[in-house]
Amino acid sequence: MTTDVTPQVRVNDFALKLANVNGTGSASANGLIMQAIFRMGIPVSGKNLFPSNIQGLPTWYEIRVNAQGHTARATEYDLMVAMNGQTYREDIAAVRSGGYVLYDASWPLDTDLLRDDVTFLGAPYASMCLEAFAKPRERILMKNIAYAGSIVALLGIDLELVRGLLAETFARNAALRDSNQLALQLGYDYTTANVACPLPFRLAPMDATTDAILIDGNTATALGALWAGATVSGWYPITPATGVMDNFTKLCATYRRHTEPATEPGGEPTVVNDYAIIQAEDEIAAIGIVLGAGWSGARSFTSTSGPGISLMNELLGLAYYTEIPAVIVDVQRTGPSTGMPTRTQQADLMLCAYASHGDTRHILTFPANPAECFEFMVRSFDLAEHFQTPVMMLSDLDIGMNDWVVPSFTWDDGFVPDRGPVLSDEDLAQMKEFFRYSNPNADFVTARTVPGSAEKGAYFIRGSGHDKLGHYTEDPEKYQEVVDRLKRKHAAAAAYVPAPIIETRPGAEVGLLTLGSCDLAVREAVDLLGQAGIAADYLRVRGFPFADAVADFVRAHPHTFVIEQNRDAQLRSMISIETGLPIASMRPVLAYGGFPLSADQVVGAVRQELEG
């Protein structure tokens, strides 16, 4: 073992990557490190780069620590925890010069893998666990906690804090807790005895996460649906969206049950669910269930990914034309077709914006992180009912399945949901006649009734041509009158969707326009460009239809770059289509390989364009 120590110390600014075999229990060890850093008050991100597989294939976890909060994906690693012999070569190659490799020294490392500019730290994790544990499964699992013990020593993580986290996690299982504590200590002791700890890049406690939480976007989305009052959901399992409904199901079991008194004398009171979660036969049925419930006046939603949106296209058109509220969460993954189900992308923008045959356009929201997933989910339900139309929230795998440090969620008990114009029986009694698609309000929305309303409010909803009275029609003018109103209604939603975030600098001629999970990488790029003498403004689109500020931003910058995670520059096209701005007035910066965006991709593309 070489002990070449780099003299320059870096505190709270580094990245490490952990290479594992999937299905071996590494996720809990990696999450433990991430959580410990979070608890030390330091901005941190953890990104899981995993295969579409149950067991045996390579998987990586990347942790980036940055005191300034620049926690977008890093592309250079100071420490590689190389625990997968299958990928040694590429993992060792990925360490930056002067960095470190931690590996399992139970077996010798092939000498042709060695690099002169990298320090190799070996520890015999498999051998230690073979000795310390009797059960075969435990020997495999505990290796992960043992290397976590080494990382604790190497990075200067508070050992007691980590011991405390294990105690919390295994509060109900003393045997597991003891095994974990033992494995942690094995790794920690071995490394402190053999390596000068901590390494030159290390951690020091901060107070930057005091009011923050560590949460993934799918859990946050489920929380948003619950607090927004969703009572019906239809869904079909799909990576990376499954976590939304898994979490919604768990949360409902906690928060949405009440006891009904016995129906017969001497009978037992029963626990009832104030919700119905229906696992459908496919995504077509999932959206069908949502529309049935939305028609009936319940807040209902589904969660899916791109392939599911493809299947839902038919009924999304029905919902648009018949004006039924629905909330659809699209946790985007890499397409087309099955694509790469465990990799991220933002390539469903146009699919969602114009979903279905015929002239259709939908309201979209674009959260950038779990905090916005929570907030926009609530907003999406309001938008759906206010405008009586499907609203799609476009999250992605990076947001949905990775843990993010975000401000703690809060709730205003004075919140009143916007249920849109729905006529009660009292309202109907005041009316001479009710016609479903007549008398639009200022936002071009017409009042609806729900099934069960008094007979005067009964109408026949139909996806076939209808006039403003709701009657079947094949008359050109009567047909157009309705679809023209729908277009105006959609346009009116621009004032209601989450407004863009805009940050400007004096004299900036460069504008970086982006959306969703590109946020952190683009913000970091703004800083890096500033350091290089290029002042750049920032705009993040958060909803569709676009606010006027989006077009204004493009016009105000001689060099506008539209940064997004798809091949075809879909956001750029949509801005051009919707605002009439020439497409050449915006330069695309595209990342679509499936990994989350990093700042250097943005900086590189911008500088290349400006400097030639």
Binding site: T231, Y255, A276, G292, G294, L318, W411, F435, V450, G452
Partner: protein
């Protein structure tokens, strides 16, 4: 809300149901189907059954997919809430509606194309889920609106108006239902309102999905010689051995007393179905016996009609989901939003 208003022809004073409504109050717009279409007879039977049941019109939700059959909800109960959805998707939409509001009577009208081809998956899963609804398949063996293509219910050997005889095995909704765990399976013939009305009434009382396959000849595309869904074929091959009566819960209790050899099943809402006559050895609650009886007759070219199978012991979707006895859509926001204190407490779990 009809698209073509039906002319009301004054007749002698009409009978009134328990709500004081006449049969006229259960009618809808004028049919735009072909004269003599079997579907119009089914519409008349539905109208009559709902009137006899005294179901308040506004407490009825009528849903359909796309096709000739799916046009028919416009033609009955104008005061009901209607949803003419997309081809094959009615079952999924009805599932969501029923989940949100269990207080309505759901009448789904579909066809053989809608239910046995494009929407087969949704029908199958609605059966599995036991969505509480009446699901009517107006089965004519052809696609009418697209002018006469054979459907998935067309029997082997049946001839379309033009082209070759069918060689592809049909899907029989009754046998399908038996294999999927359906709890109410009936077959009828559009030309037999006397049989269909009690079946419809029983179906509305059933605690689950009541599937009714109604052979309904298409006079334009499938009523010719060589068709097994024609009026003539049905008149010649129908076997009506399973005869059931429906007795609403509110009627006199002594009406439930059945004569010797009769068999009664008490429904979830307290109403009673009495099998007035069944073939020797036939048990309408024995899945396997029903299946072999239906198959046996099929092998000789006969079509068995009646309320063929009934299981009132299985839980419906609402019971499986443990939803409240009143509609979910009536829960107030305060009842479903856990509020700020609960959220603040929960946040500690994400530290």
């Amino acid at each position: 809300m009809p698209s073509i208003v039906k002319p009301l022809i004054p007749l002698a004073p009409l009978a009134r149901n328990e709500l004081g409504l006449t049969i006229r109050d259960y009618e809808g717009a004028m049919s735009t189907l072909c004269a003599g279409c079997g579907h119009d007879s089914i519409t008349a039977a539905i109208t009559h059954a709902l009137w006899e049941l005294s179901t308040p019109p506004h407490m009825i939700a009528k849903l359909s997919g796309i096709g000739c059959s799916s046009k028919t909800p416009t033609y009955f109960v104008r005061g009901a809430h209607g949803f003419n959805s997309a081809h094959g998707r009615m079952a999924a939409i009805a599932t969501g509606a029923a989940a949100a509001n269990r207080e309505l009577t759901y009448i789904g009208v579909s066809g053989d194309g809608d239910s046995l081809s494009i929407g087969l998956g949704h029908l199958a899963h609605a059966i599995r889920r036991a969505v509480k609804m009446v699901y009517i398949i107006e089965n004519n063996g052809v696609y009418g609106l697209t002018k006469g293509q054979l459907s998935a219910s067309a029997d082997v050997g049946t001839r379309p108006k033009k082209g070759e005889a069918n060689v592809v095995a049909p899907i029989d909704p009754i046998l399908l239902g038996l294999s999927l765990g359906a709890t109410f399976l009936a077959r009828s013939f559009s030309g037999d309102k006397e049989q269909l009305i009690p079946i419809l009434k029983a179906a509305a009382a059933h605690n689950g999905l009541a599937l009714i396959d109604v052979i309904s000849p298409c006079v334009t595309f499938n009523d010719h010689e060589g068709s097994t869904k024609s009026y003539r074929f049905m008149r010649e091959h129908e076997v009506k051995e399973v005869v059931a009566d429906f007795i609403p819960e509110r009627e006199e209790i002594n009406a439930r007393l059945s004569g010797g050899g009769r068999r009664s099943v008490t429904m979830h809402d307290g109403s009673v179905i009495t099998f007035r006559s069944v073939p020797e050895g036939y048990d309408p609650t024995d899945r396997m016996a029903v299946e072999s009886y239906v198959r046996e007759h099929q092998s000789t070219g006969e079509v068995v009609t009646g309320l063929l199978y009934l299981d009132e012991t299985k839980p419906s979707m609402h019971q499986v989901n443990h939803t409240p006895s009143s509609a979910l859509n009536r829960l107030t926001f305060d009842a479903v939003c856990p509020g700020s204190a609960a959220l603040a407490e929960l946040m500690a779990d994400f530290r």
